[in-house]
Symmetry: C2
Subunit: 143 residues, 2 copies
Amino acid sequence: MKRAKKKIFADFVAQRGLKSTKQRDLILDGFLSSDRHLSIEELYLKLRAKHPNIGYATVYRTLKLFAEAGIAREMQFGDGQTRYEQVGEGEHHDHLVCTRCGSIEEFENETIEQLQAEVASSRGFLIERHRLELYGLCGSCRK
Amino acid sequence: MKRAKKKIFADFVAQRGLKSTKQRDLILDGFLSSDRHLSIEELYLKLRAKHPNIGYATVYRTLKLFAEAGIAREMQFGDGQTRYEQVGEGEHHDHLVCTRCGSIEEFENETIEQLQAEVASSRGFLIERHRLELYGLCGSCRK
DNA sequence: GGCTATTATGACATCCACTTTCAACTCGGA
DNA sequence: TCCGAGTTGAAAGTGGATGTCATAATAGCC
């Protein structure tokens, strides 16, 4: 899984004539070994702890590259920060966002996806992607 | 409809000990007589055309007030601007956002809402609100 | 209609999360 | 090893949102 994503990114880098660098490797490692849904800053601070001479701009640019390479996806949950999550090939899921503790769970529901497709096609709309987020209280915060 | 919202806002203003001002009336008129999903800036420019001495900050603050009063809702569609849409009492709907022309259509689907509720409850999650957006090409842009 | 306390306004400053710039540095092929 | 092209990181720039503050307007009370 982790290995597969490294391969995808390595291929992407090669194919685009980009270079493999220490920073990119470090950032990729940090990204893949993290909880999902990190903000740029969270990842930056995490990396910074071990490698003090890594720049914010590099983390920022590298995450963009991950997104282009298809191993990460940009997300906005309304907290003012862009977050990145790992994506597997063709994989998609939606989110349950806790408004109290900020935790983010994922879910998938095939039926909902189908209904979305129906809504869209009945209006001549062609879906490229979608986002579905449920905001509320997670199990632990309800207690 | 328009009248009802004016009433709601007037009551809100009265109840909070706020004042009724020319600007607020103008902004409310402009807001209610617009396409939905205006950004602060769009509304500001639109108003500015007729009333050159109205400030951006006032539009910004007034829209926040509308949201508090329950006649508007803040939305983010990832274009970097906060948009506001009109809301009727208890009303909810989702969006089809065209990635080419930026147009935004609305839709409702009761079955999807029910499925969302099921997903949530099966995980002990309590939904407060949700957002569902389908991004893609609208009918006209597909041609 | 005046008075006054309170709230609102608007020009401007500031914040914040990126995003770009640019000189120095690194990578990889010849 | 050399060189051209890509990369890095500190710092400056952006753009939208939000805060500041002196001035203006409003509502309630004579």
